[in-house]
């Protein structure tokens, strides 16, 4: 179990972390979400002792994290980094050895993880000769090669195509299923919603919401999604009393219903605007959880 306890850090006038506290239980894919500049990277770096904290501690299994524990963690920083001129296989083996693996184990694990990431054929290439997508896969292999107890990935999906996102998602779920701690960050809340079992959402260094995705998305006011044929703007919904337009996506209008608003009245307004193609209730999205929590 990883505990963030009261982490505080400023960069000059800018607040990076403001008494941030939350707990990452093992065995779940845990999403660390928030807009750009919310303090996710600073918090993750704090786990590895890469930033000085003004206050607070990071604990693993109840004890403050030290160099010994960190060697059993896996880390993929937001700024991806590998030696450009080094052979892929040697690079991963080197990192495995730095995390305490014996030479033979390091070689075997390297082979296995490069295969698993689909870059086994490029093992003898230099890192700089690989495409960005493949470098990303190698980077993930570097974070996983020593079978870490806790996996910390900073924006692992950014810059990946959908196939890459799926590949990473399946690895994360598999790691969590094996009982390891998995913490990954993202600023695209809705994109990763289906991947996470639990999340912590932060803004300006403060915790905004945390808990299981199930809990967070079933709470709050009901959402109604309505689509009227031929209508792309969703202007018809503006005049309906007791509803607020949350978002318009491809003509489908997401509406937040105030308490006591009759869905039938909304349906009537929609039918007045044109032929209704879609009408149904949906869960709250994480982005809505965030927006509602920060009052934006």
């Amino acid at each position: 179990m990883l505990e963030f306890d009261g982490l505080t850090r400023h960069y000059g006038e800018v607040v990076a972390l403001d008494h941030l506290s939350f707990t990452v239980p093992p065995g779940q894919v845990f999403g660390f979400l928030g807009p750009n500049g919310a303090g996710k990277t600073t918090a993750m770096r704090a786990v590895f002792g890469l930033v000085g904290l003004e206050a607070g501690t990071v604990r693993w299994k109840g004890a403050p994290v030290t160099a010994t524990e960190r060697r059993r963690f896996g880390y993929m920083p937001e700024e991806r980094g590998l030696y450009p001129g080094m052979i892929v296989r040697e690079q991963i083996e080197y990192l495995a050895r730095l995390h305490g693996l014996h030479p033979a184990d390091a070689a075997a694990a390297t082979r296995q993880w490069l295969e698993r990431m689909g870059v086994g054929g490029r093992a003898e290439s230099k890192v700089e000769a690989l495409s960005m997508g493949n470098q990303q896969r190698v980077q993930l292999a570097a974070a996983l090669v020593h079978e870490p107890e806790l996996l910390i990935l900073d924006e692992p999906m950014s810059g990946l195509d959908p196939a890459g996102v799926d590949a990473i998602g399946s690895v994360l779920m598999e790691q969590a299923a094996a009982g390891r701690g998995v913490l990954f960050s993202s600023h695209q809340l809705d994109l990763v919603e289906h991947l996470c079992q639990a999340v912590a959402i932060i803004d300006h260094g403060r915790l905004v919401a945390s808990g299981s995705v199930e809990e967070l998305t079933t709470g709050g006011q009901p959402r109604l999604v309505v689509k009227v044929e031929g209508d792309w703007s969703g202007d018809w919904a503006a005049g309906v009393p007791g509803v607020r337009v949350s978002r318009v996506e491809g003509g489908a209008v997401r509406l937040v219903l105030d308490e006591g608003t009759d869905p039938q009245a909304v349906l009537a307004a929609a039918m007045h605007a044109g032929a209704v193609m879609q009408f149904g209730f949906e869960r709250r999205r994480l982005s809505e959880v965030f927006r509602e929590a920060v009052g934006a």
Binding site: V51, M76, P77, G81, E90
Partner: protein, 464 residues
Amino acid sequence: MNELVAKTQAVGPWKYALVPVVVAVVGLRIWLFVRRRRRRQQGSPSAPGRTAPGAGAAGGSRIQAALDSVAGDVGLVARREIRERVRTRTFRIGTLIILLVVAAAVVIPVIRKGAQDHQRIGVVGALSPPLRVAVVATGPAVGTKVTLVDESSLAAAQRDLRAGRVAVVLVDAGRLVVKQGFDPSSTSTTTLLVRVLAASLALQSGLEHAGIPPQQAAALAHPKPLPVTSLEPAPTNDTARTTLVYSLILTYVLLTQFGTWIVMGVVEEKSSRVVEVLLAALRPAQLLAGKVIGIGLVALAQAALLVGVALGLGAAVGSDLLHGTAPSGVLAALVWVVLGYAFYSWVYAAAGSLADRQEQLQSVLFPLQLPILFGYITSITGLGQSDPSTLVKVLAYVPPTAPFAMPVLLGLGHATWWQFSLSVAIMLVAIVAVARLASSVYMRAILRTGGRVRLRQLFAAEGA
């Protein structure tokens, strides 16, 4: 008595290598002791909180394991540095080129000197056997080797003279012919040879005219030189200075070249961001120490290869590069290369962490190269003077310039072994201080990206 002197001289040079080793070993012992005590004090209260079984009893072995892991990680980093450096084509070709240059520098003077050193004298007409011996014996007296070439006629001898096949022609044991008249002040080997030959042959013919038999006349005209003994050893000769110049150049090249490697290595890790992955598993001091040791070993191996090739070739072709040089000079230079590298490598590493891209290297490197350049130029100028200046004597105790100034002082016989040790001790203290400061700068700067980091910025931000 002579034996005794020889013995102390043989022990002498090793003293200079032993001093830093002893100081370093004692320092390491003290450090380990302090560290162990500190660990023990910290270890016991936190032990119950740890999940490690039997934490209290296994305290000692845990320290051992921690120490092992320290050396192990540093070793891993160092091994990677060595492998990656030696593998590059630039390194291999560069080493080859430097080797060729060194080989040329050793061999070419010998070849040229060999050509000069061999004086051929053309002989026209009769020359008695004792005179032949006497003429040949003139060679060593003027520092050359003489061979005689029998010429069929004066005309043939003059042809050889014009073509440069002989340097002098001796006609009928009574007349010398050269190609071109000599400048009266000339001291070239040929001039000296001709002057000595002219005088001794004149004396010979004078003695023979006076009725002394040729055999005895030859003995009188070409006597064996008297043995010369001296009360004090010869002053530092030019070869010792030459060797010092070479060692200064080598120190300079090594310090700047491998310092640049360290900066480039640090900047590579920072600009490629790989450093964040590394620092998640390593302490900054481990990463830096591994890099410094790895590159340092490559540097030393390359230097050893160069010196080895230079010495081996020198011995093979009979170069006088090392004749008359005290081994202490070579050893002292070696000690100072290592110390200088240990000092500057930390400074270079800290400087590298300030740059964000390779393009910023120049502006970061330049201020660092100034003290090196200053020490190098001052010391090499000091070599040209008969007595080293006060400036050199002072710089020999200032860590940034000591790697250049101290070997010069020692080589010219202006420093005793305790002065040498004092300077080494100051340097070792300075290395520890610089290592601490540099690690702290490195740690604060290495993860800051987006432009060159200024020192003031680092420490100001930390205070806020």
